[in-house]
């Protein structure tokens, strides 16, 4: 109990004093996870749209692949991305292993199926006739898809939240492909694990608290956006 309280107060102290190392870790976590979320959205949303409104052979198979991907263990992703980025691996020449870019790649792999799966479910909630109706009012093909997404925007925000949550909270892949290098690839999760390993439970709890706080703030912001939209609609 006392340890948790200590962790909480040291979290506040680190933030209040803008401890440079903590700020660096916080910024890296946000930068990596937000970038991964944006990539996941750019890929996952169209895939979700394709599955939800498309009619093509292999649609069910793609859905099964996406749903399996939603449960992808980060460590497995970390392993495969590492193998890909090894110096002796296929992308070794790019020297991306142990860089924030590698972490973004790994987290995007984790977040994309989450975004695709949840947006599929969200977009399937829209009446299939809705798109026909929008076309029947003069919307172009792309505009009609946008209108379907707009109709599902509240559940789609959940896809964003799940993607970001999956990215910022995972530790297995971040450690494997990032290496937890101080000042370069040390993120909130990997720092918390390291502090735990070193027996610095106070610091570990502090990082955990900051992680929790960030996740909460981002989700809160998105939830407020949801609520505002629906209040606005009324």
């Amino acid at each position: 109990m006392e340890l948790i309280w200590d962790g909480f107060t040291s979290a506040l102290r680190l933030l209040w004093n803008r401890d440079p190392e903590t700020m660096e870790i916080l910024w890296l976590s946000l930068r990596v996870s937000l970038s991964a979320t944006v990539i996941a959205l750019l890929i996952g949303l169209p895939v979700g749209m394709l599955i939800a409104v498309g009619r093509f052979p292999g649609r069910k198979l793609l859905l099964a692949v996406v749903n399996t991907g939603m449960g992808l263990p980060p460590v497995v992703v970390g392993l495969y991305v590492t193998l890909l980025l090894w110096r002796s691996g296929p992308l070794g020449a790019a020297a991306l292993l142990y860089t924030p870019t590698a972490m973004i790649i790994a987290q995007a792999f984790i977040a994309t199926p989450l975004v695709a799966g949840i947006s599929t479910a969200a977009l399937q909630q829209v009446d299939p006739e809705f798109r026909t109706q929008m076309l029947g009012l003069g919307a172009g093909r792309l505009r009609s898809l946008y209108e379907v997404a707009r109709e599902a925007r509240l559940p789609l925000l959940s896809a964003v939240m799940a993607g970001f949550g999956g990215a910022i909270s995972e530790v297995g892949a971040a450690t494997m492909v990032g290496g937890n290098i101080k000042g370069q690839t040390r993120a909130l999760t990997t720092a918390a694990v390291q502090q735990t390993a070193m027996g610095n439970f106070g610091a570990a709890i502090a990082y955990g608290m900051i992680l929790l706080g960030i996740a909460f703030l981002v989700v809160l912001a998105l939830t407020l956006a949801q609520q505002r939209q629906s209040l606005w609609a009324r």
Binding site: L34, W86, G92, P100, Y146
Partner: protein, 295 residues
Amino acid sequence: MAPRIYAGCAAILAAATLASCGSSSSESSATGSSGSKTIILATTTSVQDSGLLDQLVPEFQSQSGYTVKTIAVGSGQALAMADGGEADVVIAHDPETEKQLVSTGKATQSVLMHNDFVVIGPSSDPAGIKQATSAADALKRIAEQQAAFISRGDKSGTNNFELKQWKAAGVTPSGSWYQESGQGMGQTITIASQKQAYTIADRATYLATEDASGLAILYQGTADMLNVYDVLPVTAKAGSRVNVSGGDAFAKFMLSPAVQKEIGEFGKEKYGIALFDPDAGQTAQQIEQELAKAG
């Protein structure tokens, strides 16, 4: 409505682009191989967790202009990385495995520093190992009492040291009292603390976690508890992308008199004693003999 959403998307995209630009500009120096200014240092966790590298690596970076990527893993994995050419320089404390690697010509080895292993456990010492006469004897007593013991079980230097001692004791440890954590040193100490079990740790990690674990040193100080750390720059034989000159530069830096002096001072402020003894220029046998003389 729509333009606003488009604008929002554009803003997010711009932010992401900025973020990735930020990362790529700091990594742009990482491309290329032998002429590269980035080196990968694979180190055993105990050295990383002690905080020594947090002090030395920035000094090396500012002196040499290299960027160091420190990857903390068990000695086994660190040496495997060197074997595959995935690391440029290694800090390890696993003499047998190191010897194998050096024999392939993929790395060269120099003694860097040493400290010692300690057997730790609950201060009540249920197996009575305080009276032990050697490391092997201490483990034998634990096995006889079937007192709980946590092994790293991860092919790390510490794990290999432990297994060597069981062999010396003539015991094949098995049974519910002998558990493998599969974790790093720090976590293994935490598990031992929670289970009130014995374990073997390097002194530096033990000192760093002493307050949190509450475990006591129950056996220490004999020559057979020696823990020698080596620095091993990787050669081009391990892989075409190995940064040979960078690895060599780091090894030279670590063995330089100024840095050796720093290693000898490291930890005194915080723990009252130095965590490592610098050993540049010596061999493991020389250190052992010296210790035996002193002991």
